[in-house]
Symmetry: C2
Subunit: 317 residues, 2 copies
DNA sequence: GCTGCGTCTGCTCAGATGAGCGAGTATCTT
DNA sequence: AAGATACTCGCTCATCTGAGCAGACGCAGC
């Protein structure tokens, strides 16, 4: 980084830098045109870079924190990690990013799996097009007061957009007892739909935390049940599958009352894309990813930062 | 320039661009680290450049207009062309640039030639160091009222800074008649100094225009003499040498009254650096350069632009 | 479903490039 | 003035890189 440089050298450096970086000429070309050796050209360019005459900016694309995404991906060994800036306005940005990701990742050979979930519904609402692939429903629906109807139709809506075959059913996610749940599972429509679960190659799912307000499942059960489940080590839930801090599916009494894919089936899906953010969910997301239930993650910068704070540092390469 | 791009691709592009442009990793390296082909890396980088994710700025160094310098150099086939921004504040900036250029260009094998000149005095005032080389005075001095003494000492000051041998003399530049001038030229001190002129390899000189106020020589002679000289086609003056619009030295009656190097001697100096600017001097500068009296030029942006307006366009390469 | 078209991917090979070396030269010290 | 030191320059050789090409894949029309 030679600070002292004569005006001739400076003018030369500028000319070389312009030709190389703006006009795209090769160093050999420049050397020939200016009558200097290609080594001199290379050294001038190095100096120009070192002393700030040439400035290169990488602009993070709008609506995406590429650097955090990459760090998160490396830290967890994720297939894809997409981080949108901020946290407050995360809801729609995350959904949009997830929809884009889905569109990018899906091939005509894939089979898409979808659970009932508010987050997933948001994602599907952002989809305008999809390959003509089969769509498989992964679990029953929870209809909350005030938004019955449309939101339980996530899978049908996705299937309509795709135009491919759909394997959907009408059934609640949680029953009052194991017997009712069993009966539903034996119902032809349910059984036929769930029979296609092993063919699913890509699923997009929300992640719930096992705390009040952290998951629709958690909120839907009694205080007593919630406590019982918590005492078995459950920290989170995905599409009706409960899992502990190690991301291991946990079978509890509640599991028997749920109409959804099994933990083993979830784990067998090759590419599970999780869409989740919020401070309350950090532990659950961390567990799901570490446990291998999730292969790709779409989240907010705040959540990603919190995850990285507890995650192993990225390797150096 | 593929505008549509999924988030994964975008994140990848960002990562690749960061590694390549900011960390300086080779494309092969990046390809290996990210598990993609080097061709993909190259294409991502091309796209990143094309769609503005990577932005490269060439910052013109402060106090120097590199682009104009280069254009001026090409247009006139100059060895060195240095253009400082603006025109108003040109005086000191030009002097500084010339001093820097001199320092950069001079080698211990050179012999420096200097005329009396206000511009050259400014340049020497900016010099703090010089190689230990001989310094040769090129012409007699004109002492203006109010600044006698120091300013005629240009050559001595330069020699003191250099620390090498000096070949200086005390004599006025213009005498009242040819006889007085001849006598002075025969004076031992003058003759000995001028005998070294053929050894001069680098000279730094001002350029005067043959209009009132355009040159100290022009201002020092009578109106009648000025008109006579003008009628012989003289447009400018350098260190006592008068020249016409083609840059050809002109011998007039005035020439015989001047104690200075001859036009032939001036032309024989391998590298004459001219320091000159101002709208009035454009014609004179143009003539001197085209005539081959000047090989390098230090000037202002306004003057350079005016010169370029009348000069042949730069060749394309 | 089959075929043509446009796009994307990775390959070959020639030319471009970087790391390190040794010679020549300027600068500093004694 | 002479030697030591630091610097710049251009070279060689191994590696990297770009242009163009061929095959694979997805898409639209019959």
């Amino acid at each position: 980084m030679n600070e002292r440089r004569g005006p001739t050298e400076t003018v030369l450096m500028d000319a070389v830098a312009r030709r190389h970086y703006l006009r795209g000429e090769s160093k050999v070309e420049i050397a020939g045109a200016l009558g200097i050796s290609r080594f001199k050209v290379a050294r001038l360019l190095d100096d120009a870079l070192a002393c700030g005459v040439v400035r290169i900016d990488i602009l993070s694309p709008p609506g995406l924190d590429a650097e955090l995404s990459e760090r998160l991906r490396r830290a967890y060994g994720l297939r894809y990690a997409i981080v949108v800036p901020g946290e407050a306005e995360g809801r729609s940005a995350v959904a949009q990013a997830a929809a884009d990701l889905l569109l990018e990742v899906l091939t005509p050979a894939d089979v898409l799996g979808l659970p009932w979930s508010r987050s997933v519904s948001d994602v599907v609402n952002r989809l305008t097009t999809l390959p003509a692939i089969p769509v498989v429903q992964l679990c029953g629906g929870l209809v909350l007061a005030g938004e019955e109807g449309s939101s339980s139709d996530v899978v049908r809506r996705a299937a309509r957009i795709a135009g491919g075959p759909n394997h959907v059913f009408y059934a609640p996610l949680i029953l009052d007892d194991a017997e009712s749940a069993g009966a539903l599972r034996r119902l032809a429509s349910v059984r036929d739909a769930l029979a296609h679960v092993p063919t699913v190659t890509v699923a997009i799912m929300g992640v719930g935390a096992w705390v009040p307000g952290g998951s629709t499942v958690c909120d839907a059960v009694s205080d007593r049940t919630r406590a019982e489940v918590a005492s078995t080590g459950v920290v989170g839930e995905m599409g009706g599958v409960l899992f502990d801090a190690g991301g291991r599916p946990v079978d509890s009494e509640l599991s028997a009352r749920i109409v959804a894919i099994t933990g083993a089936q979830l784990r067998a899906i090759p590419n599970v894309i999780a869409v989740a953010h919020g401070a309350a969910k950090v532990t659950a997301i961390d567990a799901a990813v570490r446990g291998g239930l999730v292969h790709s993650l779409v989240t907010t910068a705040a959540t990603a930062t919190a995850l990285l704070a507890g995650a192993p540092l990225p390797s150096t390469n």
